[in-house]
Amino acid sequence: MRLALLLAFLPLPALAGVAEAVDDQILPATERFAASAGALAGAAAADCTAPALRPAYQDTFDAWMGMSHLTFGPLERDGRALTIEFWPDPRGRVARTVRGLASEADPVVGDAAGFAQVSIAGRGLMALEQLLYDEELSGYGAGDYPCRYATAIARDLAAMAEAVQAEWQDHSRLMLSAGEPGNPRYLAESEASQALYTALLGGLEFDADQRLGRPLGSFDKPRPRLAEARRSDRPLRNISLSLAALRDLAVALSDAPIPATQAAFEAAQATAGALDDPRLAGVADPAGRLKVEILQQQIRAISDAIEAEIGGALGLTAGFNSQDGD
């Protein structure tokens, strides 16, 4: 009886956490990314050589890891997420496109509007990584074509980051008015938390299956060279930063304590922290491989904990059709 009365005054489960997730995780992450990318463009304007640009590139990639899981909303428009980071890249499109532009000294890099029409494999963080870290490409001088190309990428990234940040202000209002008449995107209150929940599980799946799964390959055929942003030493760092962002999102999204989820995040972070293998190159030998596989299993265990603790409480499930093939 008393419990029933108490429950009646609790917030509607469907609304739980959306405002907190937007305020505590999403909007700060979009601001940080916009600021970092803006600083990258500023750095390029001052000195576009590879050594000068690398710190700002690393900062921008760090900031991107705070929001790369937000694959709905502003990032899914016009392929922005893939343009910002063209990865995975099983067909080597980034290297091919970057080398193509560089060998032709394509003048498109001098024109911001024109550059925004370049193949997305030739834009964004992965193209910039080629210019800044590839042994053959990165030795360019201040007057060389790759310097202008790197500047164009930096400016393009800054423009996208600024647009995404601005649009997230609008999109967050759309999420907070989920289910109200005239809301074209979120037809019911529950759809906003469902979108966040899907992004949370999707981010963990991406960490386990792509960021770790691609270099792991198979036991007989490990693929260490497929690790994400390997040239710039980011494979393990990206996992740690992504997990940190996803943990913040999980905490914000749930309106109840989530001890099992928190413990699962801590276990994975501890393993990642002890790995001492920034490029995940160890996937090629049995001992190193085992450690990466353990991390992969721990990340999958986070998803299980989230489904039990958050999904169950909010009445959310993974997609009815997306989980069912035919």
Binding site: F72, G79, L187, A188, S190, T198, F320, S322
Partner: protein, 358 residues
Amino acid sequence: MRRRGFLTALLAGAMAPRLSWADVGSPAVLGAAREAGGGYALFGIGADGTDRFRIPLPARGHAAAAHPTAPEAVAFARSPGSFAVVLNCVTGAVLARLEAPEGRHFYGHGTFIAGGEILCTSENDFATGQGRMGLWSRGLGWRRVGEIPTHGIGPHEIRRMAGDVLVAANGGYRSHPAQPGVKLDLDRMRPNLAYVSADGALLEKVELADDLRPNSIRHIALGRDGLVGFGMQWQGDPAEGVPLLGLHRRGAAPVLDRMPVHEARAMAGYVGSVAFDAAGDQVAISSPRGGRVQVFDDTGRHLQAILREDVCGIAAVAGGGFLLSDGLGGLMRADGQIRPLAKRPGRAWDHHLVPVSA
């Protein structure tokens, strides 16, 4: 209630009138769904998104086949199902339960030929892996009267074209009911689109280039002047971003979609449904895994991406555009803009919206 009782009485009597889809509210499409209580039902849905009828189903359905004139629907269990039910959409009565014969299972789709007298069902002869179409006679109380080959492995959707030519999407890989959900022989897969006469003769077979062998041809829609749209499911790396829609007209070479690479990759290598609009000017494919629908013109030129979580069902609606359904209970009208028509919390629309012709 009273009307339903009256109709039941009528049907039971000798003076049963000839019923049409108008007697169940002229639904534009049929769609199966899981309901809030966890049960499953088949719905008739109007072009405005309203429910026109509801019939409980014994289990999760996959697709349905609508009789061309009579308000009767065949609901298929999910693959590898061994049964389908024929429903009277006026009374909800089960008119027949179709059991796949020994050594066969249904793949979840079917279509009518011979003016609605013969139902064709896509089936697996799982000892050999050869695709079959089972033939069932409505006039003989839904008795199985024969079967014809689909001329490929793993057929999924089949459709009737003019002159009772059947077009079958042969997915290209084997499956076996002892291992549900497992795709067998993927490294040897060889999908095709086969045009088959009602007596089983192969009229034309379409295969894609060797590098697209892993692209399983699974769903079909019919456009203008014999144009066939086929939706594919890529069994390779989804990050390769390959074409997922093909367009084919008999006697010509198939044409593949030209999607921007970010949209192709966002589809996650998976097409759940394909449909042309009413005029046949546009064709759309859906990916619940990518949460989006891609719209093309009838030459495969990309027009638009429509974003909607867990979207899968697509059907043409009179007046232009598409009706879309999703696993969150949403029904939308997409005609340039996307407009919500109905939202039924707790209801999860399943893969397909099946047009009702009347």
